[in-house]
Symmetry: C2
Subunit: 320 residues, 2 copies
Amino acid sequence: MALILALDFGGTKLAAAIANLGSSEWLRYERRLSPANTDAKTDLEIMRSLIYSLLQNIKPTAIGVSFGGPVDAVIGTVRLSHHVAGWENIPLKKLLEQEFGVLASVDNDANVAALGEHRFGAGQGYDSLFYITISTGIGGGWILNGKPWRGASGMAGEIGHIVVDPAGPICLCGKQGCVERLASGPYMAQDVRENLLKEPVQLRGHQGKILRELVNNNLDLITGKVVSEAAAKGDERAIIILQRSAWALGIAIGNAANLINPQRFILGGSVTKSGENWWNVVQKTARETALPEIDFDIVSAALGDDAPLWGAVALAESGL
Amino acid sequence: MALILALDFGGTKLAAAIANLGSSEWLRYERRLSPANTDAKTDLEIMRSLIYSLLQNIKPTAIGVSFGGPVDAVIGTVRLSHHVAGWENIPLKKLLEQEFGVLASVDNDANVAALGEHRFGAGQGYDSLFYITISTGIGGGWILNGKPWRGASGMAGEIGHIVVDPAGPICLCGKQGCVERLASGPYMAQDVRENLLKEPVQLRGHQGKILRELVNNNLDLITGKVVSEAAAKGDERAIIILQRSAWALGIAIGNAANLINPQRFILGGSVTKSGENWWNVVQKTARETALPEIDFDIVSAALGDDAPLWGAVALAESGL
């Protein structure tokens, strides 16, 4: 029986699992948080220990890898990680092939998750789709003609850095009004926090009551999740920031529909758990931005946190 | 010798030509303006007369058709024309196949022009490209993996209606700040005209001197071309409007590069003849909008007004 080894280098966590070819259940599964201030070497060592614990002297038939950062998928070399030091130009495919003696396929997490949803999740039966993860960062992966579309230099899918509001706030990338700047969890948290700090002292604890209570008045604890919770409880400022997130993503999806006309958009990541209002604004804005003749739907990802691992299985399969 | 018949239903003009398979020179070529207030039936009759005049009793091997409006390319049926009445649901492929007894392939002008540039023009040797026409309207056609990408319902490439400035002026489509609203010839002319009309009477003929002279003070004669000419002669308001056109297109190209990462963008259409400044702003804005890791270039179309006809040849070839 052919055995697939799936690996997920996630930036803050590492996961590995094995499954029989064609199966949609794991045989065994291991998951570990990366240590604080980890580096590429440490993460690779932890992953090796996970793999040997999983395999127990069995040899896999093929290896698929999801990596949290830009990858040259053709040669399987990591370009860099935005979260972990020391990953520049690490030939991950080659390292794994040398150690385990079988074919290894490596791609970035958004492309791999797109493949996972296409093969095992919300994209089954869809020939063209765009998977978008809205979390700490925002990225995406295309399936066109039933296959990953990676772009001429493997950089397609960077929906987080398309500009939707040229008068908007400045993003880390230097531009104004990127989708990621408006819609990602950490930026929503930052904007709510700064907004609270700007309040006149005599009003503090009044207007921001709901938010302050959720974090025991420690504004550093505000996250994207806290913003969603405060919005659900009726905090006006959180509602505005959350709606702006959904609006920015909706414009981006509508623009992508006009440009590429895929059948389906699949949304995953923590921000998609922000509730019905967030989803309604995304749906409505995307529908209004796309031309009326352009059909598409927008659905929730089905595989959750396991999308990269299942995608890694699909990636390994496609290499066989 | 296999003979290709290429047809271009352009909205205001009709063109037909024949070429030997594999050749890049026309054997014969006919071109006619559509009559004022023409309709589908009249344009079809004129096109038939052009075809019979070209063919002179020879039978073509295949027919390729470029149509100026949305087409269902799979069944070769026109959806509608935005310029000429009566085209709704005309089965153009079927009509031509019945009359001439050979395979006919039909697609919209932007897709066909993209194919033409890919096969015979500025896109030769490029596996992924986006052709954009910036003229009365703004549209585009994708080549991905060396083949046309039309989208799930044949509507891909609508770059004219992606939103780049949500606070911008209202487009005919109902949205604010579409690329077409900011960058197309007629809208540039409209904005310059309205801007001139808003001037206090005592200033008329002073600030807008260059523009007014170019149209003998008849503001209805202002076109996109006039705006370019006035900008070249130093008219400040024309310069601002023309730069805004280039800026909007640059944002759209940068966003498309982030999403799809094609090797090359090819720009055609009358507005691309607006001079070096326009091109510089397009290039600069697109480069700044795309992530630094994303490589692409932006070049001028090579086939000019004949791009749809040469594309029709390539379309007919690909059907053989």
